[in-house]
Amino acid sequence: MKKTLKKGLSALLTLTICASVAACGTSSKPDETVTVTTPTVASQTNQEGSSEKEPIILRFAWWGGDARHEATLEAITLYEERNPHVTIEGEYQGYDGYYEKMMTTLSSNTAPDIFQFHRDWLSDVQDAKHYLADLSKLPIDTSSLKEGLLERSGSYKGEPILFPVSIGSQVLFVNTEFCETYGIDITKDYTWNDLIELGRNIHEQDPEAYLMTADIDVLNRLIILSYLSQQTGKSLVDDETYEITFTEAQMTEALQNIVNLYESNTLEPFGEAAVFVGQMDQNNKWLNGKIGILFDNTGSGSKYTAAMPGKIDVMRIPTQEGAVCSGTDVGGNMGIAINDNSPNKEEAAKFLDFMFNDPDAIKILQTTRGYCPTNKAEEILAEEGLLDLVQKKGVEISQNNAYSINVISSNTELETIRKNVIQEVIYGDSTPAEGAKEIVEQYQLILGKLKEGK
């Protein structure tokens, strides 16, 4: 009896060890990259010009959450049904690591045929080599896009290379119950200082609660840029002259604003929020109603409403005295691009056209990539009652007097410097004045180099 028990136990342990050795080889992140065959498998139409089409395989990569993955896969299936000679292989994952993967596959010429892309990455990529195809030369109808959207958010150096899949802006997402408890009027236009006072009071009343939370990306890409643009009315860098559009004093004030937000306990302490970087919707204080407001892009609306249905509403971002513009960047910052090296560019373009111009596809994809970039989509979804009303409201209330961020201002090097300085200022390693000085100096250095290479 003892012997069999021993044997059984050892067998069980061996299995456990084998299982963990096997499992430890894979990552725990929701990375469901499908293995692919190379695009060269697909061939062109044969020389006799027969009507039977050669099979084409397209690789399509995107990032997102489950809702987006499911909807996209459904749209893919529909396209494959209508076009039996086409197979589309989806390579999808979460946002983390997507940029790095995309850069390496582009440079090694193993990138997918069609892929989701961020407007901010256009300059990094297209400056190096003509990686992204010119959409005006492909069979895709871009005229359906809302006015000015393609020029503002999908073109670089005059060429349309990114099909914007959403039109969005920045808003404050609010927990309606929290607002009721603390008497926040979401129809009012608060200034930054108003919010700071409010935040101070709330934290005094409940030491566990904070008015807002933000991770480094929100601070770096949304908060500081909105504050600055409210003073300058423009993007950080002028794309004609490659000069900065803000003064050192303005940057000092913007950094000081961030310091004030932390000192008054309006924002949850940076270190605590850092655990949820890129996943503010999973911040447990937010989920438990101890944080009331999140500053984010309207496109994130669907994940907030999915996690807390019925409790989410939107309000305008804080403004300031003498603001020149609303501080919101209205446009599309996300789109889909086509690999210029792909042998199946035309088919990829047709598929892209299907996704955003075909009524059935529109009904499947809805607003999983953000609010409708075309009027057609808006009409169809409104009719079917499928419109994400929170996102719709978010876009509407923030459109007024908005500006638009240009591509050069989103250059990665510039962003990294700002990101480092913000952290130093928050932790007291630099004062806002010192931080601003460093940003200005570094920017001028980098822009000088970029200008030479222009």
């Binding site: 190096a128 270190g271 850092a274 090097e413 480092n420 928050i426």
Partner: protein, 329 residues
């Protein structure tokens, strides 16, 4: 016993006398024309050729290419131009975070390596006891190091050590105030080194083997002479274990200086570059800033540093490592 074949010279010169001396030997010494290599050496090469191919293609080639790239401004997206020593010069003089990162990496190693070895030794000594079911415990204590530095464990660590996480909740039961394990740049480095300490399994197994090899007569003799357990530990156990301590120390130092996963996943090099280890710095430069040439230079600098430290450890080992068979002396 066949007579040994002595060399021609010997036979001529020494003649009978030599032969008579050699008659008394009992070993057979056959001397024929010595080959340099065994006859079937080509088969040997064939059998190791898969490994050689793998080594050359997957290790040698990238190593040499990265040395080449470190002298260029290769940026992944476009091929680079030769820039000579510019990357290295910028690294040492203009990079704001290089010395900070280097210092943090050394600090991390100074914390993680001794903690890990001490933990491994302690557990190995416990597991050396003759208890019922001790084999089960040995397996269980080894499991963490299989799960290892995977992404899953790092994510788990993040949630354990959050301000509202499990560790702080447990501490609150014994009335210790909440510690900001991951949010305070000074404490965050300690937190991620704890993850490495948790994976002491491989070192522990080696220590266990070493402990088993210490002759029990030594302990018996010491007890007879009246030495206390503590005295025995420091005068018998440790000296006999020094070869294993040396090996573990070396391997752990090399690993610790290259640590990436825990710092990247748990704290992403932050907060405020508090856990900005060299591994993370190299990754960010290569894949976020797209400066592959610069990152290659950084990794070669790290390589040289690790080499230097390894040589120092080797050189000092003569003083404190005691080999049973006299070692190389």
């Amino acid at each position: 016993m066949p007579l040994p074949h002595s060399s021609c010279h010997e036979k001529d010169r020494k003649g009978v006398a030599t032969l008579s001396v050699k008659k008394q030997t009992t070993t057979t010494v056959t001397m024929k024309n010595k080959r340099r290599y065994p006859r079937n050496w080509k088969w040997g090469v064939l059998f190791i050729s898969p490994w050689i191919l793998g080594f050359v293609i997957l290790q040698c080639y990238p190593l040499l290419m990265s040395l080449y790239y470190s002298f260029t401004d290769f940026s992944i997206l476009k091929s680079g131009n030769w820039v000579g020593l510019e990357n290295y010069i910028n690294l040492f003089t203009k990079d704001k975070y290089f010395w900070k990162s280097f210092g943090l990496t050394i600090k991390y190693s100074l914390m993680a390596v001794p903690m890990k070895l001490l933990m491994a030794l302690f557990i190995a000594m416990l597991l050396n006891m003759k208890l019922k079911g001790i084999n089960l415990f040995r397996t269980i204590y080894y499991l963490p190091s299989i799960m290892g530095g995977s992404v899953a464990i790092s994510v788990l660590w993040k949630f354990l050590f959050m301000k509202d996480g499990i560790v702080n909740n447990l501490l609150s039961f014994i009335r210790i105030p909440k510690v900001d394990w991951l949010g305070d740049p000074k404490i965050a480095l300690v937190t991620i080194s704890l993850l490495v300490v948790w994976q002491f399994g491989s070192s522990m197994v080696l220590f266990l083997a070493g402990l088993k090899n210490i002759p029990t007569e030594l302990y018996e003799a010491a007890s007879v002479d009246g030495a206390s357990k503590v005295r025995q530990f420091f005068t018998i156990t440790i000296p006999m274990l020094t070869p294993i301590i040396f090996f573990n120390l070396l391997m752990q130092i090399i690993n610790a200086l290259q640590e990436f996963t825990s710092a990247f996943i748990i704290t992403n090099g932050g907060p405020n570059h508090g856990t900005y280890l060299m591994g993370v710095k190299i990754y960010e430069e290569a894949f976020k800033s797209l400066k592959m040439g610069y990152a290659s230079a950084t990794s070669w600098v790290l390589f040289v540093a690790i080499l230097f430290i390894t040589v120092i450890v080797f050189k000092t080992s003569d003083k404190w490592v005691f080999y049973n068979d006299g070692g190389d002396q």
